[in-house]
């Protein structure tokens, strides 16, 4: 049982940051919808308010970690140029996808969309967090701000979902692999 260094980074990016962010997003949407609606004012305690502040800050960190590891750690491996005449393109995922008509759209549509739409997630959640940290439970009295926070979190969820789904499918067709091998468990013969 082993994994390459690049495979491990892909796992950290996709599962550690991306998937956890998606899970957290669904929780934030439920929390905002249930506890910060116009008729829920009396139910929100200081503890609940503090909890959501910390939760949103953690989500913001996750979102930025996901896009920065994606763009600056994994993407350079994905887009690395294969030397001319390279027969095996396994170490060059973009070239591998573009080498076949049946997979090229995973790059031209999939990766081209993913690499940009993903950034809408941290921008949106940073705004939602900043507004909630600033206003706290008083946001219940600010209908428009409350709506903006909720819908930007929804769009953040959508953007992260698009990026995550495309990333998973791209990695199935052309995995980012290479680097040192990390051995976890030695299998039996």
């Amino acid at each position: 049982m082993e994994i390459s260094t690049r495979g491990l980074w892909t796992l950290i990016h996709g599962m550690g940051f991306g998937a956890l962010y998606l899970l957290a997003c669904s929780g934030a949407i439920v929390e905002l919808w249930r506890h910060y609606g116009p008729t829920e004012g009396a139910r929100v305690t200081t503890r609940n308010e503090t909890f959501l502040r910390v939760y949103l800050i953690a989500m913001t960190l996750l979102a930025w970690l996901a896009v920065f590891t994606g763009a600056y750690v994994i993407y350079p491996w994905y887009r690395a140029t294969a030397p001319p005449g390279t027969p095996h393109l396994a170490g060059y995922p973009q070239a591998l996808l573009q080498s076949s008509a049946s997979t090229s759209a995973w790059h031209s549509i999939g990766m081209e969309w993913k690499e940009h739409v993903a950034w809408l997630a941290p921008i949106s959640i940073t705004m939602a967090t900043a507004v909630f940290v600033r206003y706290g439970r008083s946001i219940q009295a600010q209908r428009e701000l409350r709506n903006a926070v909720l819908w930007f979190v929804v769009v953040s969820f959508l953007a992260a979902g698009i990026a995550g789904s495309l990333g998973a499918m791209i990695d199935k067709n052309a995995p980012v692999e290479g680097g040192a091998i990390i051995h976890f468990v030695q299998g039996g013969s």
């Binding site: 896009v67 763009a71 600056y72 993407y75 350079p76 887009r79 690395a80 031209s108 549509i109 081209e112 969309w113 690499e115 940009h116 739409v117 950034w119 809408l120 921008i123 949106s124 940073t126 705004m127 900043a130 507004v131 600033r134 206003y135 008083s138 946001i139 009295a141 600010q142 428009e144 701000l145 709506n147 903006a148 819908w151 930007f152 769009v155 959508l158 953007a159």
Partner: protein, 108 residues
């Protein structure tokens, strides 16, 4: 669009909302321009291994934060027409979602 707040001010929050829409929109616009205009594409390579994506995202983040700082400085402590601000921000955010989709971006 703004006046001094008599109740709790929504100015700072609205500044954050509109700035996020502006940042998202510029991200999509810069991505399209960097894809279509070769000199801009070269200009957007801030970090060679990542290519133009590094410049597109860094520039969009810069525009977003500058827009946020300016709007916050103008609207802090004031009440603004938050419904209009939200509409503008949602339109910009929706456009950015659409314009990052390559088949639509390729129409330009």
């Amino acid at each position: 669009m703004s006046e001094p707040a008599s109740g709790p001010s929504n100015g700072s929050g609205s500044a954050a909302v509109l700035a996020a829409g502006i940042g998202a929109f510029f991200l999509a616009v810069l991505a399209i321009v960097a894809d279509k205009v070769v000199p801009i594409k070269r200009l957007m390579v801030f970090y060679k291994p990542t290519g133009p994506l590094s410049g597109v995202t860094t520039s969009a983040i810069f525009i977003w934060l500058v827009a946020w700082a300016i709007l916050d400085a103008r609207w802090r402590g004031r009440s603004v027409a938050a419904a209009r601000v939200n509409t503008a921000a949602f339109v910009l955010l929706g456009l950015s979602l659409l314009l990052t989709f390559p088949p639509l971006a390729d129409l330009f």
